[in-house]
């Protein structure tokens, strides 16, 4: 008798799903690490794993919330500043029994109120805490929304190419169709509305109902910060084409240039006024994993719904309730992130210092990495305007592409595997994110420590030049 659960009898959608961020390259890197090789993991936006220290204040507050008996101890002031103690008491009061009790399935009401206040300060428009749901990381929120939207394989979701492969994975898992729209690499990864219109038309001609559009701003893996004009055009497009806009804004704190600061899709929507501001359906995502917090391991996130009907919100609440509640410590991290120490608070100075140091360093590293890649003759790299990644385009010689084919691998996978084996740098091949046919990239993070960066870029260049030596036609470029 066949085994009760063998590969053949698995849900097809699971088999089709791919998530390169922890796929082949990462698994190979882990193998090599076990064998004793030094690996630099730049495959995932995981700042603390590369030496970034947690901000002190939130850790103090959450530690106190974990062990409330400390608050009763007369010596607690020797270990914790008064504002951390006060804030811990504040959050404990907001919970329904401390960190160990399930909260409201949408998250602690008091924290959702803090998130709403943050959004209002940031955008200048009020928002309703009832329409803000806290989740175990933003990814869970994305998956919940896509699960609610996708009915069958005829439902399409517009997704940027390149994209963070959570989107492609979730669409496949839920049995929908991914409708790609290509970002324009030569124009700094900006939106190309002709391409978007073509994509949607092509999908519709195949009988696909395009339901939603994903934008990632700042972009992942591409790092571009969208202009206000771009976002306005996007919102108009969604209005005309009847699409829900899913705005992944998890990198909103990670901005490394001053020309295009972050503006939320919601702010622009309300700036545009009715009818758009009353009609366009928008879901915005944020997290504690990125920014200068980098608290990936806490799994704290939220999504905010705009212009979804109360009945729809109820259904989404119902699904959230099946998982009972998001983790409470992660919710407190979220509260702290949207409501950090203020000038005058005891911990403010240290908090500001720590935050600024991280942001300034990230800005520097974005530059070092971009310049390092661009110094290689076969590599072109757009500047990392935001987020945490560098996504250089690697021009591979024909013989390398053939070698990859014979090895049964995508050319960028071969390149990245060889890079890993030569240097220990663990990246994710561009094919994991999507790219134009015949164009190859890799994604790395800008997260290795600043002092290690020059050596890493040196190491990359050395490998790349050797790779080109090996695979380039010995005559170099063809002579005319």
């Amino acid at each position: 008798m066949a085994k009760p659960l063998d590969y053949e009898s698995l849900n097809e959608n699971v088999k089709k799903t791919a998530y390169a961020v922890r796929g082949e390259l990462y698994l190979r890197a882990s193998e090599l690490q076990k064998e004793g090789k030094k690996i630099i993991f730049t495959n995932v936006g995981n700042p603390h794993a590369l030496g970034q220290k947690p901000l002190t204040f939130p850790r103090q507050v959450v530690a106190l919330c974990q062990a409330p008996f400390l608050l009763d101890d007369p010596n607690v002031g020797l270990l914790f500043p008064a504002d951390a103690i006060a804030r811990a008491k504040h959050y404990l009061q907001l919970t329904s029994g401390g960190l160990g009790a399930y909260s409201d399935s949408r998250g602690i009401p008091g924290v959702r109120k803090e998130v709403a206040e943050f959004i209002e300060r940031r955008d200048g428009y009020p928002t309703d805490p009832e329409l803000i749901f806290l989740t175990d990381g933003a990814s869970k929120g994305v998956m919940q929304m896509l699960n609610a939207i996708i009915r069958n394989e005829n439902d399409g979701i517009l997704v940027p190419v390149p994209q963070y492969p959570l989107y492609s994975a979730a669409i496949t898992l839920y049995g929908g169709s991914l409708v790609p729209y290509y970002l324009e690499e030569e124009a700094n990864w900006s939106l190309d509305f002709n391409n978007i219109r073509q994509s949607i038309a092509s999908a519709r001609s195949k009988g696909i109902t395009v339901r939603a559009m994903v934008i990632i701003n700042p972009g992942n893996p591409t790092g571009q910060c969208l202009s206000e004009a771009n976002i306005r055009e996007l919102l108009r497009f969604c209005f005309l084409e009847n699409l829900v806009l899913l705005a992944d804004e998890v990198y909103q704190q990670n901005i490394y240039q001053d020309e295009r600061p972050f503006i939320s899709a919601r702010k622009i929507l309300f700036d545009m006024g009715p009818p758009l501001s009353k009609e366009v359906q928008l879901v915005s995502f944020h997290t504690v994993s990125k920014g200068y917090w980098g608290e990936c391991g806490q799994r704290g996130g939220y999504f905010e719904m705009t212009n979804l009907s109360p009945k729809t919100v109820d259904e989404i609440y119902k699904v959230a309730s099946i998982s009972l509640s998001p983790n409470v410590p992660g919710q407190i991290f979220m509260g702290l992130m949207v409501n950090p120490p203020k000038p005058g608070d005891i911990s403010y100075f240290k908090f500001e210092q720590e935050s600024k140091a991280i942001m300034e360093s990230l800005r520097k590293r974005a530059r070092i990495m971009t310049d390092g890649f661009n110094s290689c003759r076969n590599v072109v790299c757009n500047f990392t305007e935001g987020a945490m990644y560098s996504f250089p385009q690697i021009r591979l010689p024909a013989r390398a592409i053939e070698a990859a084919k014979s090895a049964g691998k995508a050319p960028d996978v071969l390149y990245c595997l060889k890079l890993l084996e030569a240097t220990g740098i663990s990246t994710v091949p561009g094919s994991g994110f999507g790219q134009k046919e015949g164009v190859f990239h890799l994604r790395t993070t800008i997260l290795p420590a600043e002092e290690d960066m020059p050596a890493i870029m040196e190491s990359f260049k050395k490998f790349n030049d050797a790779f080109m030596e090996e695979y380039e036609d010995y005559r170099g470029y063809s002579r005319m």
């Binding site: 590969y7 998530y19 607690v76 029994g97 729809t312």
Partner: protein, 486 residues
């Protein structure tokens, strides 16, 4: 154009599986209770009670249960490792919690508790859990078989996603069941194949019933993929006898079913004549190994004596699957990157608590036993009280955290319910709420033999509140019966 076109995401255009699924534990009655609670806040004397007591959900710490001190000490130190460098810390924290935190931190790359971990969870913590499983069962466990999750529930969803290809795939579930299973099956587009537990024999699980339901489903063209067993039971509280478990293992093996063993209440046993045996232990003791039985065993940090629901921690131990299937399980886990680190640490503490000789051992045991003994007393007190009510019979809660009494409702009550467009037990539960402020979940939320009515009530309110709850419940029930007497 935008104003004429229907908005893209409406209840009409949402995924129908989302519309179909239900989860009564936080359903209608809870929303109503929350409204009444708000009413009490603005107008304290407007209702015949002065507080809402949530007995709908197994959420111990929301009703006053204290967390285990040692566990929280370790977590606080792991959350803020800078404490370990300060001399004052040894005054405020027990020495073994400091040692354990140091050990845990050194098993985390870079001691970075804020980093995404391996998608199955931190290796060192999985090692500790595997050791805990081996110590519990007397059979070895492998760290690579363990997937740490945000609570046990995501692990259940993962397996349902893998197993269910279409509506033609079925999962055998106990009736009554914890409605995560029915909801998850609906969400993933499969079919729930019910098997009835026998109320007359203490919610006994009969293999003949399993066989009957399996054959019935197969005759309708359903491919039954898996059997869910909840042991100790939820909402029913029964603890399976070893013999019974052996029969279940044989049944799954013979019929080619994946056994999904929900064992989250393994540390909640209140009777001396029953003991928890994991299904893995039973299978191994029968000589069945990796080749013989695909088995997924679930454990959680939310229950037991630790009751750390809000942390969202748990694991599934996956054994008996081919490597190609395991790769798929891993792949789905990796899309979400990893579960929260605090929950992972707690899971390792739960499976590896203080031992005799440890500095915190005695206080740990006192806290643990205090909670468990109190739970046993509350289970008994509520069970006796329910059995004393007219027309109510309540099986013993041998384990878990709930009582699931059957209420024989008079015809008139059933008619009144029909007029109010509610299931009879929902009508009863709502009346109970409005008279007493006590929130229970109607039996229809868990499934029951048609024509019978139950409700699920937790045993979790603090002991000093129990007498008041019992007297209010008793008074309400009498009034209700008198009102609807035939």
């Amino acid at each position: 154009m935008g104003s004429d076109a229907t908005a893209s995401v409406t209840v009409e255009s949402i995924n129908p599986k989302v519309l179909k699924c239900e989860y009564a534990v936080r359903g209608e009655i809870v929303t109503h209770a929350q409204r009444l609670q708000q009413q009490l806040q603005t107008n304290p004397s407007s209702l015949p009670f002065d507080e809402i007591i949530y007995c709908n959900i197994g959420n111990p710490q929301s009703l006053g249960q204290q967390p285990i001190t040692f566990f929280r000490e370790v977590l606080a130190l792991c959350d803020h490792p800078a404490l370990l460098e300060k001399p004052e810390t040894s005054v405020l924290f027990s020495s073994d919690s400091i040692a354990r935190a140091q050990q845990i931190l050194s098993s985390i790359p870079g001691k970075a508790t804020g980093a995404y971990s391996h998608s199955q969870g931190i290796k060192g913590l999985r090692d500790a859990i595997a050791a805990g499983i081996a110590a519990r069962d007397g059979f070895p466990a492998n760290a690579d078989d363990i997937f740490l999750t945000d609570g046990a529930s995501p692990g259940v969803h993962n397996m349902m996603q893998l197993l269910l290809r279409s509506e033609s795939d079925g999962i055998l579930c106990p009736i009554p069941q914890y409605p995560l299973y029915s909801a998850s099956i609906a969400l993933h587009g499969g079919t729930l194949v019910p098997y009835y537990l026998d109320e007359a024999t203490g919610w006994g699980l009969e293999i003949s019933e399993l066989k009957k339901q399996l054959e019935d489903a197969r005759s309708k063209g359903i491919t039954v993929r898996s059997l869910v067993v909840i042991n100790p039971g939820n909402p029913t509280g029964q603890v399976l006898a070893e013999e019974n478990q052996k029969q279940i293992v044989e049944f799954c093996k013979n019929e080619g079913l994946v056994l999904l063993a929900d064992e989250v209440y393994q540390e909640n046993i209140y009777v001396d004549d029953k003991k928890f045996n994991s299904f893995k232990k039973i299978a191994r003791s029968m000589g069945y190994g990796e080749e013989d039985l695909p088995l997924v065993s679930y454990q959680s940090i939310s229950k037991g004596y630790y009751g750390e629901c809000g942390k969202r921690g748990g694991y599934m131990e996956v054994t008996g699957f081919s490597s190609s299937v395991r790769e798929q399980i891993y792949k789905v886990a990796s899309v979400n990157l990893c579960s929260n680190i605090s929950g992972q640490i707690l899971a390792s503490l739960v499976m590896n608590p203080p031992k005799p000789g440890d500095a915190s051992y005695e206080s740990y045991v006192a806290e643990r036993d205090g909670i468990l003994k109190s739970l046993a007393r509350r289970a008994k007190a509520l069970e006796d009280a329910l059995n004393s009510l007219e027309g109510v019979t309540c099986n013993k809660a041998e384990g878990a955290m709930y009582l699931f009494p059957q209420v024989r409702l008079p015809e008139k009550a059933i008619e009144a319910a029909k007029e109010a467009k509610k299931a009879p037990d929902a009508f009863y539960a709502l009346s109970l709420l409005e008279s007493t402020g006590v929130v229970v979940v109607p039996g229809s939320g868990f499934g029951q033999v048609p024509g019978t009515y139950h409700f699920r009530c937790t045993i979790l309110p603090q002991e000093d509140k129990i007498p008041a709850i019992i007297s209010r419940l008793t008074a309400f029930h009498e009034k209700f019966l008198n009102k609807y007497r035939d």
